[in-house]
Subunit: 160 residues, 2 copies
């Protein structure tokens, strides 16, 4: 139940692009260096983002990438789904037609659980817009450390 580096690196890369973008295109090599991500690997991630219509590219010298939309119109959900595929906790085929159509009452019932989890994840990520993260990033930039203690709370044994 973990995101891969695709989602983790990819979100950072898009955020980097959003924070540092002016109207010029930004070369991938710059993002890769700032974020300490392998440029070749990042290439594969940005290809997915481009395919999903989140970034656009300009080829050739002085080329690079731009956001395809204003940051207010891009949600974290859009970015993560582009990189990770759907964010459901089980494969879609399992939700619909797993093991025959509800041949077993219990697998039928657990589908409700997967759907509730899926909905809550998608709801969470869809309500976070890239613009919020940009704003937050600029705040952090200018007064380090404020956020870190909060983040630590996630890590107790009792997550609840």
């Amino acid at each position: 139940m973990k995101l891969s580096t695709k989602g983790r690196y990819g979100l950072r890369a898009v955020l980097d692009l959003a924070v540092h973008a002016d109207d010029e295109a930004m070369a991938l090599s710059q993002i890769a260096e700032r974020q300490s991500i392998s440029m070749n690997y990042l290439e594969q991630l940005i290809a997915k983002l481009k395919k999903a219509g989140i970034v656009t590219s300009i080829r050739g010298a002085q080329g690079g990438y731009k956001l395809a939309l204003p940051a207010e119109e891009i949600s974290v959900g859009d970015i993560l789904r582009a990189l990770e595929g759907d964010l459901s906790p089980v494969d879609c085929s399992l939700v619909t037609s797993n093991e025959g159509i509800c041949s077993n009452a219990d697998s039928c019932v657990t589908k409700y659980v997967w759907k509730r989890i899926s909905d809550s994840i998608n709801d969470a990520v869809d309500t976070i817009k890239l613009s919020e993260l940009v704003a937050e990033s600029r705040k952090v930039q200018a007064g380090i450390g404020t956020t870190d203690t909060k983040a630590k709370q996630t890590c107790g044994n009792s997550v609840k």
Copy 2:
């Protein structure tokens, strides 16, 4: 971002136990057969559930497993965390101390995203009690198919 078979099989196994349990202990072989799960594999899963205090065991002939608590007092979250480890979308160490303490503003900011996702997942699973699933399972048993069309809605291309 998928649950493994540990979580999927394990939840079904606990539900099976809850549905079919009387006051006698239930042998794992019966659960394995009813749920079409390898008995040897299920053994490993139930060991985790036992360690987490969700089931108790009785050894020897006529032995088996029982719920350690009434189904109303066991949440799906308890079960899934026992089987899968914590349900955060990133490893905890990443949330607290990844890549130095916020050496990079963007990784610092994305931690908020992981925390929001984590909280929403845990909130979703903690509010579903095993007893609800038992009731639902009995309903399904007696009038197949009502749930299936609903489950299908998860599967469109647009999850939103």
